[in-house]
């Protein structure tokens, strides 16, 4: 039987506010345990939450970016359950009236086609603390630094049909939140985590199969692997005559499998009710208009513009718009050199290669966009040739020079275009290579084309790479043919 996979994602994005969602404590990552938890975060008797307006603004910005409805009124609810790292015995979240309503996100697939994924809603909530089970000799340590960190939970419709689509959706969300600057998107530090809902159904069937929810998947790669495993598990189960049960499962990246955590029957009754300590959030049109006017150009718009205005391929446009840092770098290179195709090639080629080798992100690139743009300009105006350009790039990367021009000057890489000088070098090479000249002369005319490469190489070597290769080629051919 042909099976179809149905996937929906709940993505938890940690918002980059300076302080927590309901208290003034810092949200910085990596501090000593419990040093960033104030009375409110500790849930001391008598404390009250005060909503962080920055978190509201960030959530709304996300909503606007995914073309979502933003309801005038949203309400915080309490989700009640006991857990040692949940200080108040409830998590303040939004169950019934979330801050962001239905919207949609465009994802780009491997074949450069796009697909729209609907967003059901997004709501604000506070993060819990962390339970630490190691190093406490049979006891559990509680670190409440993370308690109260603002999260935006983005809930998709079950619109994805493959692990690849799910990963593409997660990347699209990542790119939107980082473009907006509302999250650092750092998955390794837990700034983005996701729960994946997976079910399978016979191809052509309308009704959804029973879904399993895979909790806390925290990398693009794990999303694909967890789904791949889960889909296979469900299909095998059904084909063997079994039934998928609705349950929560955990992905174990070490064993590459998902394991059951709890079934529906064991699920908590969270007893949601409106939090009486917080007023409903009321947003007026002027506020939404103001935030809308502050929105940066978003990835989908950039991608479209890179194609339509700059003439980039769908592939290039997609890669270069994937992150705001990458896009801004590319746009600056383009602004300086004026050639989009060259700028795209250099950023994706030489620069990305070097960054990957040294495991650097683009904002930490040793070669600035200005430097790279100038370097490309020197290729475009024939000051240097392509080979020298790579040398200049390497020098800039190593910090051996302030600018492309300085490196060209210092290393004497300026391209030689003076015909007389090139002819002199050619004459010398011909004079020093009697055997090769004889071979050239004795060859069939159609094979001479290949043999000329040897002479070009010698001339370029003699010029230390600075001779204009086109000129060398043309002049060499004239001189050699004159010897026939």
């Amino acid at each position: 039987m042909q099976w179809e996979t149905v996937i929906g994602l709940e993505v938890h994005v940690q918002l980059a506010t300076r302080s927590k969602i309901f208290s003034g404590a810092s949200t910085a990552f990596g501090a000593e345990p419990n040093t960033q938890a104030c009375a409110v975060d500790l849930g001391l008797p008598g404390v009250l939450p005060v909503l962080n307006e920055q978190a509201v603004a960030m959530a709304v910005q996300f909503g606007l970016a995914v073309h979502a409805e933003i309801p005038e009124v949203s309400v915080f609810d309490r989700k009640n359950y006991f857990y040692p790292d949940l200080p108040k015995g409830y998590q303040t979240s939004q169950m019934y009236h979330p801050i962001v309503g239905a919207g949609e996100v465009e994802i780009t697939l491997d074949d450069d086609t796009t697909k729209r994924i609907r967003i059901h809603h997004a709501h604000l909530e506070e993060d819990a603390g962390k339970s630490l089970h190691e190093d406490f000799h049979g006891m559990t340590g509680i670190d409440l630094n993370r308690a109260g960190t603002p999260l935006l939970e983005i809930v998709s419709e079950p619109d994805m049909r493959s692990a690849k689509e799910a990963a593409a959706y997660l990347k699209a969300i990542h790119s939107i939140v980082t473009y907006l600057g509302i999250s650092d998107g750092n998955m390794a530090e837990g700034s983005m985590r996701c729960d994946v809902n997976v079910s399978v159904r016979p191809k052509g069937q309308d009704a959804f199969g029973t879904r399993a929810e895979i909790k806390n998947v925290n990398s693009f790669r794990f999303v694909e692997r967890a789904i791949a495993f889960e889909v296979e598990r469900q299909i095998e189960l059904i084909e063997d005559g079994g039934k998928v049960v609705q349950e929560t499962r955990l992905f174990d990246p070490e064993r590459d499998e998902t394991r059951s955590m709890r079934t529906k029957e064991e699920a908590n009754d969270y007893r949601y009710f409106p939090c009486p300590d917080l007023l409903p959030v009321v947003l007026d049109q002027a506020y939404l208009d103001h935030l809308r006017s502050q929105l940066p150009e978003l990835p989908a718009d950039k991608r479209a513009r890179f194609q339509s205005e700059l003439g980039l391929s769908a592939y290039d446009a997609n890669v270069l718009s994937a992150s705001r840092d990458m896009a801004e770098f590319f746009e600056e290179v383009h602004r300086v050199c004026g050639d989009a195709k060259q700028a795209a090639n250099w950023v994706q080629g030489e620069l990305s290669g070097a960054l990957n080798r040294e495991n650097l992100s683009i904002q930490h690139s040793p070669v600035s966009a200005q430097q790279l743009g100038e370097l490309i300009s020197r290729v475009l105006d024939d000051t240097i040739n392509g080979k020298a350009a790579k040398q200049v790039f390497q020098a800039l990367w190593n910090g051996q020079g302030e600018s492309a021009d300085a490196v060209i000057e210092a290393k004497g890489l300026k391209q030689v275009t003076d015909t007389g000088a090139i002819e002199a070098m050619i004459d010398q090479v011909i004079a020093e290579s009697p055997a090769q000249v004889a071979q050239y002369r004795d060859s069939e005319p159609e094979k001479r084309g290949k043999m000329i490469g040897y002479f070009v190489g010698q001339v370029m070597k003699a010029s230390r790479g600075t001779a204009n290769p086109q000129q060398v080629n043309g002049l060499l051919k004239e001189k050699l043919d004159a010897l026939l």
Binding site: V47, L48, G89, R271, F273
Partner: protein, 486 residues
């Protein structure tokens, strides 16, 4: 000295007739001498009080005193007080030393008042008799076999017995007004949002409100001047200007329109209480007020709605008492569930457990709409009843409680206890202010006249109460207990 009002004591401090230290020592001695009979205090902070009294004397000597600098008072043990045990009347918090001051405490302290200690209360403010305290019942100074009312019973009894000239209470379903009535003192529950809840241990967040308890309305006005106002730490406190509540105390009452809710004079009302209240209304008529009957048709839904909403919020508010970070923790827990179960089973008393169970049930899946959502709808109707009534009249008057203080141990059945609050609870659901003022006696025990106003009408309520106290002397009468122990 113990029979003087805050206003009188402040004048004595001003004139130099009395020092803050003398005043503080005097009340501390009275507490020391008599409170073992009343049990109105859980913690007495004598040492800190005397240090503050000396500082207050210095401030007064330098001319840097506020009106209330050096005035001793007591705080219900529901207000977090830095460095002092804040038990909320519960074994659960018997070991809890609050690391911060509630906003109310901070403001009273900044105004120069001196806290003598923390008063007894029904555990987590759940109760109408003060019999639900981990620290034992409080006795009514008018009759030691009677309850002082609750949940602010310790504060009411301490003021009535002259152990302190004023105290702070909280009122979620009558917890200031009913004990004030039972103990023959004046108690004001402000509009919800008028006084910050920050640092006040939450029972039912949408109903809880702090307020003053003292001998007179004038004293309550002075205290309201200190505690009222917006607090950035409490989102539900209202950003609205605070008047000087003492300024309008003497406004004449001619033309005042008084409504008597017919539902507050029905079955179950003690005839002597009714007579005292109707006599009080006659006093108002003599002061130029007009009186008419009004109806609050949803009154009989108030108690059922309250006992859905308050326990629902309480079940969630009290979840933080889990034995993990503070408060009572059971010995040698076998595992996490055991830690939770035993810590909470041991730390909470019967009534608190009952309300947690009720609240947990009403919020559960499948019951939420039938209980919680419905109760919120009822709440809106009750609020509308009051708003409609205030279209026609300025204030409403009636009894604060259907009976005077009952005997200790008299109400064994929780529902009969809940019915005690029939005249007070709707006020919390509507969020409006209410004040109870002494208006006579029934069977030798005090009767409270309850006066209700529309949202933010505290100044008017204090004015109306003050004028009554200018015309009567019920509020000046002291129990024999206070005199015997003078």
């Amino acid at each position: 000295m113990h029979d003087k009002t805050v206003t009188q004591l402040a004048a004595a401090l001003d004139s130099g007739e009395l020092s803050c230290r003398e005043l503080t020592s005097h009340f501390l001695q009275r507490i020391e001498k008599t409170d073992d009979q009343l049990n109105s205090f859980i913690t007495v902070t004598a040492e800190q009080a005397l240090i503050k009294a000396d500082a207050a004397d210095k401030a007064r000597a330098r001319g840097k005193a506020g009106k209330l600098t050096g005035i001793p008072l007591a705080l219900k043990d529901i207000f977090c007080t830095q460095g002092v045990k804040t038990s909320c009347g519960s074994k659960m918090l018997d070991n809890f030393i609050a690391p911060y001051d509630a906003t109310v405490v901070e403001k009273l302290s900044a105004a120069g008042t001196i806290s003598l200690g923390k008063t007894n209360m029904d555990e987590f403010a759940m109760g109408s008799s003060n019999e639900n305290s981990h620290y034992g019942a409080v006795k009514n100074p008018w009759d030691l076999s009677a309850v002082p009312g609750g949940s602010s019973g310790g504060s009411a009894a301490a003021v009535a017995a002259g152990l302190v000239p004023a105290a702070m209470g909280t009122d979620t379903g009558g917890s200031i007004r009913q004990p004030a009535a039972f103990c023959g003192i004046t108690g004001l529950k402000p509009t919800y949002g008028r006084v910050s809840r920050y640092g006040m241990i939450a029972y039912a967040s949408s109903l809880d409100q702090a307020g003053p308890m003292a001998r007179t309305a004038e004293d309550c006005a002075h205290l309201m001047n200190v505690i009222a106002g917006h607090d950035v730490r409490d989102s539900t406190s209202v950003a609205r200007g605070v008047p000087d509540y003492t300024e309008t105390l003497n406004a004449p009452l001619s033309g005042l329109k008084i409504g008597l809710p017919t539902e507050y004079f029905g079955d179950g009302l003690d005839p002597e209480v009714e007579k005292a209240v109707r006599d009080a209304v006659k006093v108002y008529e003599s002061l130029g007020a007009s009186v008419r009957d009004v109806s609050l048709p949803h009154t009989h839904y108030a108690i059922p709605a309250y006992y859905v909403i308050a326990p629902a919020e309480a079940s969630s508010n009290l979840s933080r008492f889990d034995g993990v970070r503070f408060g009572h923790r059971c010995d040698a827990p076998a595992d996490l569930v055991d830690l939770y179960t035993r810590s909470r089973a041991e730390g909470f008393g019967e009534e608190v457990k009952r309300r947690i169970l009720i609240g947990t049930h009403t919020l559960s899946e499948g019951f939420f709409d039938a209980y919680y959502t419905k109760a919120q709808q009822v709440r809106r109707l009750i609020r509308q009843d009051f708003l409609d009534a205030f279209e026609d009249v300025d204030v409403l008057m009636g009894p604060a409680s259907p009976t005077p203080a009952f005997d200790l141990g008299a109400k064994k059945d929780p529902v009969s206890m809940y019915l005690q609050d029939i005249y007070t609870i709707a006020v919390n659901l509507a969020g409006i202010p209410g004040i109870s003022v002494p208006a006579g006696f029934a069977g030798g025990r005090p009767v409270g006249l309850q006066i209700l106003g529309t949202h933010f009408a505290e100044a008017q309520l204090l004015n109306v109460a003050h004028q009554f106290q200018q015309a009567t002397d019920w509020h000046l009468q002291l129990p024999a207990f206070a005199e015997e122990n003078a």
